[in-house]
Amino acid sequence: MTDAVLMVPTHADLAEAVLRESGQDVNLCYQCGKCAAGCPVSYAMDYSPFQLIHATRLGLDDLVLNSKTIWLCASCETCTTRCPQDVDIAGVMDTVKTIVLRRRVKPTVPRVAAFYQAALGSIRLHGRLFELGMIVGLKRRTRELFKDTGLGMRMLRKGKLKLFPSFSGARTARKIFDRVRKLENQRARGASGEGDRK
């Protein structure tokens, strides 16, 4: 940890935002560590799940928003399942990621954020995920042109990847995406008065 993060602020802005948006109260956590013990990815994280929850309680918002942990979470729900205080820890990870993107904080694991964008772009455009299109979108964003090309070729040969997208449902999906965006923008404008947006 750096010196800066040891200064504990007097109130926890992020914890309040998490509570408001997901209904999850991180103050219920009593630091038993069960979430971290069961987490299959904690070995690769910079802060283990219970450390991240604790930092959120303490108001160390910058540490949480800039952690790798939120992006490396595999959404396996083991932590949520085992928490004796019924905190939906995987849900908190999702909410924090949503806030990072909304506040335009630079994601600390950009590749994962790029994957989300590429996948959602494909779903919005086609209605159903078009894997090849999504892979191209991901490579364009990460510039890792040759990652997984061998696997991609093997899957193409086995007929496991479609060469052309389906467009059934494209209009339905686009309508939903646009309405959600509109509603979320309205809410963000409403919340900016409450200090959610910095």
């Binding site: 997901s22 299959p40 729900e77 995920l129």
Partner: protein, 300 residues
């Protein structure tokens, strides 16, 4: 008696997991389970949606459930564990959170379905023990299989209400109806890293390696799965894991519906077994027609 279900295949079953779709349909044909694909279905949004927008992550599944309801059907089946989890989660959250329910009404055309329920093929087929025993024409008792349930069928249990969350047994029981010997092992609900497969590949390789090690360790001839993401990691990425960890598994990874199809005497081609990246010859060699008195002995 024929039962009719709205069938939500999801994106994977139309592409990377076409063999899951083929084998599920083939097995349902035999057991007279009537599947009607949801007209105009769209992606459930999966992890990219729930990681970036709570509203979007529930709007996409809810739209599909609403489309199913418009077909006059109230039970929706989704074989992909990720789709199944997203559909069930959205129903749960919309019931629990009136504000979300209100927003969903504004985003999804048509009323929010109230009577629709989401059911997994393991639940549908698991209730057909006598019919399965009756339909079994081939003996697979030579095979020792581990059932891999993955994360999303059972977790979080409050929402999913599926089997026992840490040590599920529904797939073991179902394969037992076919006379398949399933082995106990400790990785039934471990995570394969599916959500990170395309991005943090090193993490995914480690998690998948741990699962393959355990499967080999208990002496499995094959792994049975119910999730396209698990299957893609364990099968399509198995060669990559072998290369990284300098080992060799050669473990076939089959959907439970493919094993059912083999026991029912359905051709491997119709079950999509030619689409696997790890060869399934060893499994096919152990399939033998049953003699009449032995039929159905496994059930009961």
């Amino acid at each position: 008696m024929t039962t009719t279900y709205a069938y939500y295949p999801g994106c994977s079953l139309h592409s990377t997991a076409a063999e899951y779709d083929m084998s599920f349909r083939a097995v349902c044909d035999v057991l007279e389970v009537d599947l009607r694909e949801v007209k105009g279905w769209i992606c459930c949004g999966t992890s990219p949606a729930h990681s970036t927008s709570r509203l979007l992550s529930h709007a996409l599944p809810m739209k599909n459930l609403s489309l199913a309801e418009q077909m006059g059907l109230t039970e929706v089946t989704a074989p992909c564990a990720a789709c199944f989890a997203r559909l069930r989660t959205s129903l749960y959250e919309a019931k629990r959170d009136p504000e979300l329910h209100r927003q969903l009404q504004a985003v999804v055309d048509g009323p929010i379905p109230e009577l629709v329920s989401v059911i997994h093929p393991l639940e549908i087929l698991g209730a057909l023990g006598p019919e399965i025993a009756e339909a079994t024409t081939h003996d697979l008792s030579e095979l020792a299989v581990v059932c891999y349930y993955g994360c999303l069928l059972t977790r979080p249990p409050k929402v999913m209400q599926f089997d026992e969350c840490e040590t599920p047994s529904s797939m073991d029981r179902l394969l037992g109806f076919l006379g398949i010997r399933t082995l106990d092992w400790s990785c039934k609900t471990d995570c394969c890293g599916g959500a990170l497969a395309m991005t943090e590949t090193d993490i995914m390789l480690k998690l998948t390696h741990d699962i393959l090690e355990e499967a080999r360790g208990v002496g499995a001839d094959a792994i049975a799965v119910a999730c396209p993401l698990c299957q893609a990691n364990l099968d399509a990425r198995q060669a990559e894991v072998e290369e990284r960890y300098e080992t060799r598994y050669g473990l076939p990874v089959l959907y439970f519906t493919q094993l059912m199809g083999l026991a029912f005497g359905i051709s491997p081609k119709r079950l999509g077994l030619h689409k696997h990246l790890v060869g399934v010859d060893a499994v096919l060699e152990s399939v033998a027609p049953v003699t009449e008195p032995a039929r159905g002995a496994a059930y009961g």
